[in-house]
């Protein structure tokens, strides 16, 4: 490689990178309607259809080039243990007992409308894309793992055993595949259509239709429609009719079933990040108000000190004047009785004594101040 060739490569690399950043910048600006995208995609997970075959896990591993697990995907017994998503497994299927009947639920990133992880990240690694995916960019990740604290679904995993470049890992909604017009790996692999891909708004309609067309089959609750501010991936839960009792259709009663499926219905309907907005909103208040408050306190303290000093000086002066008057009267009396010579002598002695005393007190006060 000669010098010119090298420079050309260098130059083109520079141009390419500038173009790249420019392109992403405009794209981000154009699509900036965070946090809710009307046209965003989602996936509806119907747990009444899931058979726990782990095809989704297998597809996820293949599509994303994740490390192969120790136990093969054909071993379905692992679903009985309570597994969670990790840096190496972005989706897992677990078995849950719902009122005594086994059901399966797939765990992965819910791709919240207004994600807690993105709100919590202090280096802006997470973004909610207009297509619905919540994606993570590890190049600026500091590795603080606050996203993992913030995630209400226990989704992100961390590469604890990586020494130099440990990153947070989670389901990407197969963002690269979506860009190519392909379905997410797991959705494509599902043999039961337990995962339905579509626009989020369509999915909500589909879910409602399934609930109303199959009375007694589903709990009347679409998990993720409003939970934690709404999520792109949503879950339909089975209604298990224990002893022929009427199936509760009240959404509030769904918590019982959802809990057995490992889903928390107590997250509230506002995005998790909003819980911190009050505290963050107080920051400017404190920044503006505290200096005034403490500055004022300081000024009051100073003023009080100054006033105290003034009062003290006045008292000292008064006392001094009292002494002077008394001495003057005494000297005058001396003058009357003993003549001016004696008075002069007395006056001189008095001045000398006063001077000596003043010097002494001044010294003492100095010492005190030290």
């Amino acid at each position: 490689m000669n010098r010119r060739k090298f420079l050309t490569i260098l130059g083109s690399a520079g141009v390419a990178s500038t173009l790249g950043t420019a392109a992403t910048a405009t794209k981000a600006e154009a699509g900036h309607v965070f946090p809710y995208y009307d046209e965003s995609y989602g996936v509806l997970h119907d747990t009444t259809r899931c058979i726990g075959c782990r095809r989704c896990e297998e597809a996820c591993q293949k599509v994303n080039d994740l490390p192969k697990p120790d136990k093969s995907f054909d071993d379905l017994s692992v679903t009985a243990t309570r597994r969670r998503t990790s840096a190496d497994a972005w989706t897992v299927v677990n078995k849950y007992e719902v009122d005594g009947k086994p059901f399966f639920r797939k765990l992965q990133c819910f791709h919240c409308n207004d994600p807690a992880c993105a709100s919590a990240c202090f280096a802006k690694c997470f973004r909610k894309l207009p297509n619905g995916a919540v994606v993570y960019e590890g190049s600026q990740c500091v590795g603080c793992r606050y996203c993992m604290i913030a995630c209400p679904f226990y989704v992100p995993g961390f590469e604890y055993d990586e020494a130099l470049d440990p990153l947070v890992q989670k389901c990407t909604f197969c963002e690269p595949r979506l860009q190519e017009g392909k379905l997410p790996g797991c959705v494509e692999a599902c043999p039961m259509d337990a995962l339905t891909f579509g626009r989020r708004s369509d999915l909500i309609r589909i879910a409602r239709a399934r609930i109303s067309e199959n009375p007694g089959k589903y709990v009347n609750y679409i998990y993720g429609e409003h939970d934690a501010g709404g999520t792109a991936w949503m879950v339909l839960a089975p209604a298990v009719d224990g002893k022929g009792a009427k199936v509760e259709q009240n959404p509030i009663d769904a918590g019982h079933t959802m809990k057995q499926l490992g889903l928390n219905t107590h997250l509230g309907t506002q995005p998790m990040g909003e819980l911190t907005y009050g505290a963050l909103g107080a920051v400017p208040m404190i920044v503006a108000f505290w200096p005034v408050l403490f500055g004022g306190a300081y000024a009051i303290t100073k003023r009080r000190e100054a006033m105290a000093k003034q009062a003290q000086d006045a008292a000292v002066n008064e006392a001094r004047q009292d002494v002077a008057v008394a001495v003057d009267a005494a000297v005058r009396k001396l003058e009357e009785t003993e003549g001016p010579g004696a008075a002069d002598r007395a006056r001189r002695a008095m001045t000398e004594a006063l001077k000596a005393r003043e010097a002494e007190t001044a010294h003492a006060r100095h010492g005190e101040e030290n």
Partner: protein, 405 residues
């Protein structure tokens, strides 16, 4: 008592390292801890966090955050508490307590940052938060405030090393004067920053209501953290003073010794008030959130233990101690209060956190994590001793005696 002589470093003998290097049991223990800590450090940075820590995906934050960060920052609150009392409120008789408090605060914060480097996946990327500011993040606020406050504390503290080094580098005197003139500004700036990040350490957990037990979770957590940090500030001054009097008594001058008891009693009184207020706040919050049913569970008993044994009890001990002029009782109360603060931070970050996970998914810090935490504390103590042995912290430097500031 006032007859001892303090070794003032001179131009020729700038360092006074003997007390650190003599073979006393304390020093030997320090060396061992530091050596072990260094080994663990090497393992941590060559083989990853997972090689030394019990952290996992459910427990991304463990002892290093719960103790080193939360407790570290909180227990370093003595800095702002003392400077505000002395400079802003004009309680001049606390003057001798300011420098030790600022020193410990600075060391506390500096080593919080050091400890944080162990916990971060990419420690060298810490400054990234300024390049890609995630302004919606509470952690951003914490980071920004801690970074700024460490700087402020460093400037406040820098007077001591400058006085120490001025005999060799006289040009430092100019800067010293500048800093002393800015004292009140730095103090007010410091208390603002402290308010912000002490409270925002509580705000960190606001985002996870489903993970933290309802008895500890509250929308007012920022306030609880701030108020308890004030109590921690008062308690830590007494607590540290207790150890300082044991260990480095020889480096205290007459003024310090004269004022020490008064500082203890006054801070005890303040601590008593603050702890009472904190107790009432927590209690009312528990009632307002209708958490009484939770009190009858295991976590409830634990909460009651924290509230009565580690908040109300030290408040009462402080009150009695300060009224009777009983310094010893105040010191006992300070131990109790500091333990209470640590317990509270442990509860929020570890014990009551992830309370819904099955016990098999629980967390207990590994030997490695404990080693690092002990290592960091030892580093702080060693640095404190080094500073006290060399710099005018517990005594006034004869060259600067009598200056008003």
């Amino acid at each position: 008592m006032s007859q001892h002589t303090i070794v003032i470093p001179t131009k020729d003998k700038l360092f006074n390292l003997e007390p650190l290097l003599t073979r006393t049991p304390g020093n030997i223990l320090t060396w061992i801890i530091l050596a072990v800590g260094l080994v663990v450090t090497v393992i941590r940075f060559t083989m990853g966090i997972g090689s030394v820590a019990n952290l996992d995906d459910n427990w991304p934050w463990g002892l290093w955050i719960g103790f080193d960060l939360l407790c570290g920052v909180c227990l370093a609150a003595g800095g702002y508490f003392t400077t505000v009392a002395c400079y802003v409120m004009g309680m001049k008789h606390f003057h001798s307590a300011v420098r030790p408090a600022v020193t410990t605060a600075f060391l506390g914060y500096a080593f919080v940052v050091v400890a944080l480097l162990y916990d971060l996946g990419h420690p060298w990327r810490l400054p990234y938060m300024f390049f890609f500011p995630g302004t919606t993040s509470v952690l951003f606020e914490v980071g920004l405030c801690v970074a700024t406050y460490v700087t402020v504390l460093f400037i406040e503290f820098s007077v001591a090393p400058m006085e120490w080094l001025s005999c060799k580098f006289p040009w430092l005197l100019k800067y010293r004067k500048l800093v002393i003139r800015a004292t009140i500004l730095l103090t007010i700036f410091g208390v603002t920053l402290s308010t912000l990040h002490q409270s925002s350490l509580g705000s960190l957990y606001l985002i996870a209501p489903e993970k933290l037990h309802p008895l500890w979770y509250s929308p007012f957590m920022p306030m609880f953290f701030f108020v308890s940090s004030m109590a921690a500030g008062a308690s830590m001054v007494i607590f540290e003073g207790m150890f300082a009097h044991k260990g480095v008594h020889d480096y205290m001058d007459e003024t310090h010794l004269r004022e020490a008891d008064c500082v203890v009693l006054s801070f005890a009184k303040a601590g008593s008030f603050i702890l009472f207020a904190y107790f009432m706040l927590k209690f009312i919050d528990m009632l307002v959130q209708a958490n009484i049913p939770y009190l009858f569970s295991g976590y409830g008993a634990w909460w009651l233990l924290e509230m009565f044994g580690f908040v109300l009890l030290p408040a009462l001990l402080y009150a009695k101690g300060s009224r009777d002029g009983n310094v010893k009782l105040c010191r006992i109360a300070s131990v109790n209060a500091v333990a209470g603060i640590v317990l509270n931070r442990f509860n929020v970050s570890m014990i009551a956190f992830n309370y819904q996970l099955p016990p098999s998914d629980g967390y207990f810090p590994s030997i490695g994590e404990i080693c690092i935490s002990v290592f960091v504390v030892t580093l702080i103590v060693t640095a404190y001793r080094f500073i006290v042995y060399n710099m005018p912290v517990l005594y006034e430097h004869p060259d600067f005696k009598g200056e008003e500031h």
